[in-house]
Amino acid sequence: MSEKIYYFDHAATTPTHPEVVAAMLPYFTEHFGNPSSLYGLADESREAVTHARGQVADALGASPGEIFFTAGGTESDNWALKGVALANREKGDHIITTAIEHHAILHTCEFLERQGFSVTYLPVDRYGMVDPAAVEEAITDRTILVSVMTANNEVGTIQPIAEIGAVAHKHGVLFHTDAVQAVGNVPIDVDAMQIDLLSLSGHKFYGPKGTGALYIRDGVAIETFVHGGGQEKGRRAGTENLPGLVGLGAAIKRACDDIHGHTARVAQLRDRFLDEILESVPEVTLNGHPTERLPGNINISFAGIDGEALLTLLGMQGVCASTGSACSSGEETPSHVLTAMGVPPSLARASLRLSLGDLTTEADVDFLLDTLPDAVARLRRLSRGHA
């Protein structure tokens, strides 16, 4: 096993940035007061919560009163869908989403189907793109919510969110977007993009794991998901994860303050890698949209190999990446996203997702450009019978 790590899996998770850890540390041992308490120690905690809430609001163009802290993207997605479904049941029982959402959305929708809701899963084109016109066609007078992810976690395709939001609002339907992959990579403005609810997760942009938020536009009818004490205006109970939300705030500020600067750098690395790999390896195909994609996302298929075997081979050299065919990671094989895009099973299982991030260096890319063609050739010899 290699000692040095070449980390190309920022879409799975990112390390917590050292500055973010530094911001969190005093809230473990020193400013540890429960924000609901009355004494001075708790004043510091309340101020920290207020500050972090402002940082998240700023990053989204929202107001602080519209930001609710959660324990991650999955909880935010669950809350958005179940909360809106329950609070609007009188109005209707139909939800529209897409076939390429994260399981946090899809499995929640399946749960809601078991509870008597009906869900439309919109198809996507070969680039993973949702058609706003298809959203409009799917809307009925029973529709209460449209949920379309801002950017896909596997292939990186960025959806026409503002158009979809406009379509939903034209018909008086609420619009939720899972922006877990987008925040820090795609500029967000909840007003311009006509978003009513938005999910985000700290560990995707160098914040701590187990932190997230749900943006809820003022006036949106939504049932509480986690009941209990009066935290988060009584809408999301539980003692605040104080260091966590301080970290979330610091991380989102870091990621969004100069969003164009660092995404441009990452996109440039990605483009260099793609150009060279498409050149040097035969039978490679790019999955996802050629231009409307996350700056750090590369998803490519190598005919004639198994993605998991490729990961194992790369892993021996310290390369961390992921694939659309990881049967052992508990996901079905092949990826529901690639399948929905019409990628044939033989290419879906042969896919490699490389997600670049702030930590990725030119040297990392060079190393991968060196390693990957050999690894692919080796596995192809095995599957094609040349020893």
Partner: protein, 127 residues
């Protein structure tokens, strides 16, 4: 995924990879669980496997299992080869993680199918 050293050895230096142009038996089997495939070539003389080659499009565990299994049946009688189970292959590899056990079935399946196809060609009942 934590593999044993033996698995990693057989994955990175697989034995018996390739094709046998003059094979007495050839099959290609696929896993129903994951769609991965293994092709197997046997050269058989007097009821004994005198040479063997494989090609696998599959994960590391599938490749290592094919490599180990082909090593284990080389020189063996057809009866002995037939008796080889995927658990024995996995054991010879020093064990496989639970979710990867099914990958070793691919090799077992290929060997048995190859033996039966050979027996059928010989006009014998399949086992």
């Amino acid at each position: 995924m934590q593999f044993t050293e033996t698995v990693m050895d057989h994955f990175t230096n697989p034995r018996n990879v390739g094709v046998l142009e003059d094979a007495d038996a050839f099959v290609e089997v696929g896993s129903s669980e994951c769609g991965d495939t293994t092709a197997l070539y046997l050269k058989i003389e007097e009821g004994r496997i005198v040479d063997v080659r494989f090609r696998t499009l599959g994960c590391a565990a599938a490749i290592a299992s094919s490599s180990m299994a082909t090593e284990m049946i080389k020189g063996k009688s057809l009866e002995e080869a037939w008796a080889l189970t995927n658990r024995e292959v996995a054991d010879a590899l020093g064990g496989l993680p639970e979710p990867k056990m099914h990958c070793s079935v691919l090799a077992e399946d290929a060997i048995r199918e190859a033996i039966n196809s050979y027996r059928e060609k010989q006009g014998l009942e399949p086992w």
